[in-house]
């Protein structure tokens, strides 16, 4: 391997020295925040759910990890895990869709852009849907639509509150107009959910764009967002091209949406489970008559 030991390969480069430092940090008790470049105690970094409490940076996390952070230990039961995407259009761009799908499955490490099931949050049973941006950009195809719609039907049948955590680039182009129809599919299920009068909470995380904002998350009773999350319908670049000017740094960012009245609260990741618990408790179904009795008690 003498050709590898030539000066071109053996010369130490700055980038590699930094990654070397990072690698050594990994083995110690410190974590290196990619945004503020501060050293954060590993326990604090993971305790906050892979977020930096100093600068508010939220790292992107997968759906199983998010689910672990939200539900009580051991309470999660996955629903409709067996649904698998097909290639209805036999779509080929620069690569065939089936190839992209196979790569995204990653030998079974991920199975779709959404994970659905039931679990408990602080002892309260809920139905949960968590999207995963790492699976084809969290795009909503037929399986995502069907899993979410079936989850909403399950929640309707069992009168469960609904928690939906989104992270998506929009509808899945490779499934064409059928993925557009998933906006209608999920919304249709939602029309019946509304009749059972249970709380639906949406948590918008970075990024939630396109078709997904035009369906189930926007229909939730309470909409929360993670700090700094980019949320919007049309892409920023598309709008900039049309306006022929650049948009402000806070355009389509959670904080701006809060100002414009589009969302209810911005909740840092390390407080999310607690806030959901509070909301769920406040919306717990009341036995008939119990509400007025409690009120009489406080007046006295």
């Amino acid at each position: 391997m003498s050709f590898l030991t030539g000066s071109r390969f053996s010369r130490p480069r700055r980038a590699s020295s930094e990654s070397c430092v990072r690698k050594r940090l990994k083995e110690t008790v410190w974590h290196f925040c990619p945004q503020c470049r501060c050293l954060v105690a590993r326990d604090a970094w993971f305790g906050a759910g892979k977020a930096c409490q100093a600068c508010g940076y939220h790292a992107r996390i997968g759906s199983r990890e998010r689910m672990r952070q939200l539900v009580d230990v051991g309470s999660f039961v996955e629903l409709n895990a067996g649904l698998r995407a097909q290639d209805p259009l036999r779509f080929v761009d620069t690569r065939p869709y089936v190839e992209r799908l196979r790569e995204a499955y990653d030998g079974g490490r991920r199975d779709e852009a959404v994970l659905t099931g039931t679990g408990c949050i602080g002892g309260i049973p809920v139905a949960l849907a968590v999207m995963d941006f790492d699976f084809l950009g969290g795009s909503m195809g037929c399986v995502v639509g069907e899993r979410v719609a079936r989850l909403i039907e399950h929640a309707t049948a069992h009168a469960l509150p609904l928690v939906m955590v989104t992270a998506s680039g929009g509808a899945r182009m490779q499934e064409g107009v059928l993925s557009l129809m998933q906006l209608a599919n999920t919304t249709m299920a939602f029309t019946r959910y509304r009749a059972c009068r249970r709380l639906a909470v949406a948590v918008l995380t970075d990024p939630t764009m396109g078709g997904v904002t035009a369906s189930f998350p926007s229909l939730a009773d309470v909409i929360l967002a993670e700090p700094g999350a980019r949320i919007g319908f049309a892409g920023r670049r598309v709008i900039e091209q049309i306006l022929r000017q650049s948009l402000g740094a806070d355009f389509q960012v959670a904080e701006a949406l809060l100002r414009d009245g589009l969302i209810d609260q911005i909740v840092p990741r390390w407080q999310l489970r607690g806030e959901l618990m509070r909301l769920l408790r406040l919306h717990a179904p009341k036995p008939v008559g119990a509400g007025s009795l409690a009120l009489v008690g406080t007046v006295q």
């Binding site: 069907e146 064409g176 557009l180 919304t187 029309t191 035009a214 229909l219 709008i239």
Partner: protein, 322 residues
């Protein structure tokens, strides 16, 4: 016909037809009355046209759907309903001209019309944003849907939009939320609904008016999750690949019918609806009459159940046992 509106693939035959017309004018100027002499030429021109239109690519079909002379929603409404009474405004912020709506009778029954309006000429098109609604437009649509439910009138929507307007204010006024609310409103309407894609069916902006009991589509219209240009820019990294994207997206009327998204494809007059708007309107009227009278015979609960099943079963996936 104005040269500016000739589509690229039509050029050869349009030139040929212009030559024939020239020759005919010349012959008439000379006092010659020989119609039989032009017969083979006319036949040849018609055969040429039929050849071109019989083998249009998806990209060319999109051009046809975007033809500036194509009948707009307003044209179709006026052709089908002579007593159309327009209602305007979202009762909140503005009246979005990209959405047209009101009441008009069709076949003796008053119905609520709703549609994307692209504009009839260049100035009107600018005014209407080429049929790209703002959130206020969708709120206007919601208001009209509620009107239909309140007065128990069927709702007919005409879809013709490149998509919802991508703008700074549109985003700040909750474009996504407005579309979501229009979809849920239309999905839960207690009256019969029919949607017709008459030109462009551009993504969520189109679907907001398109969750209906019966989905019809004109022969040369398209319906897609994203514009071919947008798709090409993302997947091929070049908007110039739009014709390939149009092919891959399977957005033509026949494809949408084969995928189960559209219930019926409505025939257009030869060589596109813009060639003969009156004939096109007649085809639409015939199909609409048939579907509406069928829907009006259903009970309310059956209507809602059928609509629920229709949209809950749309999609393609496999299920494996774990």
């Amino acid at each position: 016909m104005n040269d500016a509106y000739v589509l690229p693939f039509e050029w050869p035959v349009v030139e040929f037809e212009a030559r024939i017309a020239q020759m005919r004018a010349f012959a008439e100027g000379q006092g010659m009355d020989v119609p039989e002499a032009f017969e083979p030429l006319d036949r040849e021109a018609a055969a040429w046209r039929a050849r071109i239109f019989g083998s249009l690519s998806a990209g060319e079909r999109v051009q046809l759907a975007r033809h500036p002379r194509r009948p707009t929603a307003r044209d179709v409404i006026q052709a089908l309903s002579d007593d159309f009474y327009e209602l305007r405004g979202d009762r909140h912020a503005m009246d979005d001209p990209a959405i047209v709506g009101g009441i008009g009778s069709f076949g003796g029954v008053p119905i609520v019309w709703l549609g994307h309006h692209k504009g009839s000429d260049a100035q009107d098109r600018r005014h209407c944003n080429s049929g790209m609604p703002h959130p206020e437009g969708y709120r206007k649509a919601i208001r009209l849907m509620r009107h239909a439910a309140r007065f128990n009138m069927p709702l007919v929507s005409l879809i013709d939009t490149p998509g919802a307007y991508p703008g700074e204010d549109a985003e700040r006024h909750n474009q996504g939320g407005a579309i979501a609310n229009a979809i849920v409103e239309m999905a839960s309407l207690t009256v019969p609904t029919v949607s017709i894609v008459i030109g462009e069916g551009g993504s969520g902006g189109a679907l907001a008016l398109g969750v209906a009991d019966r989905m019809l589509m004109l022969e040369h219209a398209y319906y897609s999750v994203i514009s071919p240009e947008g798709c090409a820019a993302i997947l091929w990294k070049s908007a110039a690949k739009a014709p390939f994207a149009a092919q891959a997206l399977r957005l033509t009327a026949e494809d949408c019918h084969a995928l189960g998204v559209v219930d019926e494809v409505i025939q257009e007059p030869p060589w596109g609806a813009h060639r003969d708007p009156a004939a096109s309107a007649a085809f639409i009227a015939e199909a609409l009459q048939r579907h509406l009278s069928w829907l009006l015979a259903l009970s309310r609960s059956e209507l809602l159940q059928r609509r629920y099943t229709k949209y809950r079963t749309m999609g393609s996936f496999s299920e494996v046992q774990e």
